[in-house]
């Protein structure tokens, strides 16, 4: 069975497809209600579903946005993606998702595809130094908003972020007040700007308390596995640390696992603090103390911002920065 088209409806109703188009798109200010009714009825009968590809070609709007994430399997990103999809859906957009695995070549390939599919905009969580991908977007006039991860040189592009440095400083302040002095830090990959931002926060705070020691810094990669590996390394190299600050929750979860397995009791033997406040941070026992980001809001606001840009609405803030919040739970004592 061939899908019904506007032409079919028009034929059946004895009107032109122009008229059909008008009424289906509510641009029907001056079309007789008799005609309207007839058209609606036929539309129902034929189970008509408009061909939005055809529509897109003519309007140059696809009604879909793209979202680039490093890995949808990482809870932080799946939560953001969910928020974005909810918001997008509310505004009648669909979302195409792409996993970059932090590989910029993969990103570029995806961006090309998205451009070719005429996405109306993209939400971009950069996998690294993603300048080329962004240039493609710019050259083709497709709006984008950067989320979570800064991209060098594009700090003033539309974006929504968390105040990374401040968050870490709050965490160190808290640990210091709880009498922790030997605080190990597990950073993310140095390829990623916010890893460095968070690391800077750590350095600054530790120095201000005069307890900075470079050998306390380890590099992870924002994955569970990265957290595990970094923790094993810590255990081999450092004695008698008071606390470990993982620069995201997922690494903290991986780290806690390793520590428990090695017989450490948390928080008695060692305090742990993470960053993000993913839902899973409450699934471990004790629950993870962390620097909370409003993940859902970040996703929602970035989608709204993108849609505002797409529709050329007035933009209140080009760059939105959320303040993170220390969430005290069971892993620090």
């Amino acid at each position: 069975m061939r899908k019904a088209t506007m032409q079919d409806i028009a034929n059946k109703a004895g009107v032109s497809k122009t008229t059909v188009s008008m009424v289906l798109n509510k641009k029907d200010s001056n079309i007789s209600s008799a005609t309207k009714d007839k058209i609606f009825k036929i539309t129902q009968e034929l189970n008509y579903i408009p061909n939005s590809i055809a529509r897109s070609l003519s309007t140059r709007k696809s009604g879909t946005i793209g979202i680039m994430v490093p890995d949808i399997t990482n809870p932080f990103f799946s939560e953001i993606a969910r928020a974005i999809e909810d918001a997008a859906n509310f505004f009648e957009y669909n979302v195409i998702f792409c996993n970059s695995d932090n590989e910029i070549e993969k990103e570029e390939k995806y961006i090309q595809l998205l451009v070719s599919k005429l996405v109306d905009g993209v939400i971009f969580i950069a996998g690294g130094k993603s300048t080329k991908s962004i240039d493609i977007l710019n050259n083709n006039g497709v709006p984008f908003v950067l989320v979570d991860r800064y991209v060098e040189g594009y700090e003033n592009s539309y974006g929504v972020y968390t105040l990374n440095k401040e968050g870490i400083i709050d965490g160190i302040d808290y640990l210091y007040k709880e009498n922790k002095r030997k605080i190990v830090f597990v950073s993310g990959s140095s390829e990623i700007e916010i890893s460095n931002l968070r690391l800077d926060g750590y350095k600054e705070a530790m120095k201000s308390y005069k307890i900075y020691d470079e050998s306390l810094i380890f590099e992870g990669d924002f994955t569970i596995d990265g957290g595990k590996k970094a923790t094993e390394e810590i255990l081999e190299n450092i004695k008698d640390f008071d606390a470990i600050f993982y620069s995201n929750d997922v690494m903290a979860l991986g780290g806690m696992k390793v520590l428990k397995r090695q017989g450490y009791t948390i928080p008695e033997d060692v305090s742990i603090i993470g960053f993000d406040n993913i839902q899973l941070s409450q699934i471990v026992e004790p629950e993870l103390t962390t620097i909370g980001q409003p993940i859902y809001d970040i996703g929602k606001e970035s989608c709204k911002l993108l849609i505002d840009v797409i529709n050329e609405n007035d933009i209140h803030e080009k760059v939105i920065k959320f303040k993170p919040k220390l969430i005290k739970r069971g892993t620090v004592k």
Copy 2:
């Protein structure tokens, strides 16, 4: 800057857009290499990105597939989605994702949208009795493959599943051998066919061992929270149970959390077993013993199957059933 079109390339090269189309699509068996080279060069210069919307309209293929999941935030689904996206990407497809929250109205709305976007096919993880959505797909001739969750009346449609009942039976066998007799079962929502399948497996196995007791059955909903709530209920109502069999991992994780908090030591005080083998099942301590599904393969194969259907290739198996496998880890003793 207007995006370059084939016409632009044609003009610059002094050929027709037919020729350009031919060479860019490798249907260039008999086009002089001089012309080809010229066209490629210009394509580069103009940073030409084809308009695949236009292409789609004419070929009636969009090169995108839809995927319906209950909630991308649930690790089981994000892992499947990841596998699907990887496979799709390999075959040069994009994927639009939709979160149904197990609401069939939401599903229907999404399906309409996907149809209207001319997706070439959809991978459908049903949120419940999704017959209407499937009918829409059928009526519009868009291929689909059902994944993970059966839909009544469509058991013979393209699908990829796990042998649910068998998996549960294996689990009960194992628990029985480990001398567990009072085995509590936490099922998923009874709205979902596979919940019942798994429950049937439990009943059958328990009866065969003559240890069946209806009051040991509790209903969850396949979420972390559902697992927590069911566990609280168990704690209020049942004394001295030997083991809890959660019919998916995510509920087991939630349940373990509650049990630990209440002072239970796992597995000394109570044995736990889950279903799925999501990556996170290894993040808790002790690691979760579970009935493993090959999640990544399920995603990959379902995508491959869909693409085979789309391309009308020969199909070896219309319905693929994976055998689950007991994975012994630390939560049963």
